[in-house]
């Protein structure tokens, strides 16, 4: 599926993000462009520190855009984002610990966005959101520190879903989860996308997760895009760039000394 010349639901053009000044300057993203069509699932993979999270944060209005434009539904986004933007676009952060308020119960974490946006039936929505991510009602009045890592990540996903957004920006949504819960969350995300016509931009360091979830993907290194691939090109190991090929080899697992990467 190629959507490169049709205008996407989300369109990122020559995006640049720079943090700090002078000697502390970090060019986290330097000229990244991609389009994501309505209902599509788009993947971002790449090296640690290559700017993947920063791209998602920039779409969300949480990182300073120093160059380029980001368009949503045909309109260039302005900083700061309007509250209505967050009804349409929600992000699941890489770090579920930092993103959940330590002194708020799970119930509060989930009902707060409902109250802010004035949605009806908060009780029912909180219950359904917990069921959706495989957490029973027993978790409702616990605090984040009373949950395991994976349980917290599911709360973070439930919080993003509860406003029924059109677009989910997912930053390593399953890297804290064991294989069985990962499979459940990936199936859930897959089913929701088809049922509600959701659009995903998914960051993962796991090529298998991206191959499973995304029709197209971009590979990043040092803030730049290395190449854009379709799912089928990835599946057939048809990468044209050295770095992507290394990723594919490394995905096969650890090989003791002497074997090359």
């Amino acid at each position: 599926m190629t959507a490169s010349n049709t205008k996407g639901l989300i369109s990122v053009r020559d995006l640049g993000v720079t943090f700090g000044h002078g000697t502390n300057e970090v060019k986290a993203v330097r000229g990244v462009s991609f389009d994501v069509a309505q209902g599509e699932s788009f993947g971002i993979v790449g090296e640690s520190g290559s700017g993947k999270s920063t791209v998602l944060r920039a779409i969300c209005g949480l990182a300073p855009t120093s160059a380029g434009t980001i368009t949503f539904q045909g309109e260039a986004l302005k900083a700061p984002r309007q509250p209505a933007f967050y009804r349409d676009v929600q992000m699941v952060f890489q770090d579920p610990y930092a993103s959940l308020h330590p002194r708020h119960t799970i119930d509060k974490v989930l009902s707060e966005p409902l109250a802010i946006h004035g949605l009806d039936d908060p009780e029912g929505r909180v219950e359904r959101a917990l069921e959706d991510v495989g957490l029973g009602q027993g978790f409702r009045f616990r605090f984040p520190h009373q949950l395991s890592g994976g349980q917290r990540q599911r709360v973070a996903i439930a919080r993003a879903l509860i406003l029924e957004p059109q677009v989910l920006l997912l930053d390593e949504p399953t890297s804290a989860l064991d294989a069985s819960i990962q499979a459940e969350v990936l199936n859930l995300l897959d089913a929701l996308r088809h049922k509600r016509g959701l659009t995903y931009v998914l960051v993962s360091h796991d090529l298998a997760v991206v191959a499973h979830m995304c029709e197209r993907l971009v590979v990043m290194q040092h803030g730049r895009e290395v190449e854009e691939l379709t799912r089928s090109a990835l599946q057939h190991h048809e990468a044209t760039q050295e770095y992507t090929r290394n990723l594919l080899v490394a995905s096969e697992g650890f090989k003791a000394k002497g074997t090359s990467t």
Binding site: S48, Q94, S148, Q151, A183, H212
Partner: protein, 277 residues
């Protein structure tokens, strides 16, 4: 030869409205100078097992064990001075969440230098030199910048590596690494594993590697404990993981997505209440 670590019938319980809940139940194993993997589903008690060994159970939890010894030292009810001699020196733990265990208001460099300072007197420039060295050893490309950065200025994977670097400072005999590579891309992940591998081979460190990534564990560890609902349900040589007996372990192996395309939806686990027995 006695084992570095002996654990017999370790349990951890937390209070709840319906009385104490045991999240770790009668876990027993021993560890030599080897790589032991602990896998298991989210909430199965992997982290709490690791924390109990290091005496880092949250204050509302209760730890019991028939035997819990590191290098012959009984850890049950160990005094705080014993812990001071052990923790950060002879045994260390890389916590599951780097941002949680790194001090948010202190630069990475200062935190590492602090760790060196606690170990003994060295000059300031010497400690800085050492800190930069240990940062590059975990494949951080621009150690100078990371040295001066605060945790929130790092990417997920950089924070995780800074955390590992800090734990390596004490050159521990036993390292418990809780999901140490879950935020790393595969190439860096392998670099970090190689560092840990070297420490086990060259320095004879004992490593407990907690992970939910079966593929990784089976290619990296010598032995694997599989946990389910607080119990060890299977202990198996890593290379035999594909011949696992317990239905939970087999189920875990089947739910992984594959690069070259697999089934959709992914197979999920049918949990059998009998596994809890």
């Amino acid at each position: 030869m006695t084992n570095m670590l002996e654990v017999k019938n370790l349990s951890v319980a937390f209070p709840s409205r319906d009385g104490p809940v045991r999240v770790v139940r009668d876990v027993s194993f021993s560890l030599g100078r080897e790589r032991l993997g602990i896998v298991g589903e989210s909430g199965s008690g992997k982290s709490q097992t690791g924390r109990a060994i290091l005496g880092l159970t949250p204050s509302n939890g209760t730890v019991t064990a028939d035997h819990l010894a590191f290098d012959g030292i009984d850890l049950r009810g160990a005094s705080s001075s014993t812990w001071r001699q052990l923790r950060g020196r002879r045994m260390s733990m890389v916590m599951q969440d780097p941002k949680f265990s790194l001090n948010p208001v202190m630069t990475i460099g200062r935190q590492i230098v602090e760790a060196y300072r606690r170990l003994g007197r060295k000059s300031k420039s010497e400690m800085r030199e050492k800190a930069l060295e240990v940062l590059s050893s975990v494949q951080i490309r621009d150690p100078e910048r990371v040295f001066d950065a605060y945790p929130h200025e790092l990417s997920g994977g950089m924070g995780q590596r800074a955390m590992i670097a800090m734990m390596l400072v004490g050159e521990p005999d036993l390292l418990i690494a809780d999901e140490p590579t879950s935020a790393l891309d595969v190439t860096v992940q392998l670099d970090v594993l190689r560092i840990l591998d070297d420490l086990v081979r060259d320095r004879g460190m004992g490593l407990i590697f907690i992970s939910h990534d079966l593929r990784l564990v089976s290619s990296f560890c010598d032995r694997v404990l599989v946990m389910y609902a607080g119990r060890v349900v299977e202990e198996i040589a890593a290379r035999d993981l594909h011949n696992a007996q317990h239905p939970y372990t087999c189920g875990l192996l089947h739910c992984l997505p594959k690069i070259d395309g697999g089934v959709r939806p992914l197979p999920t686990l049918e949990r059998d209440p009998a596994w809890l027995a």
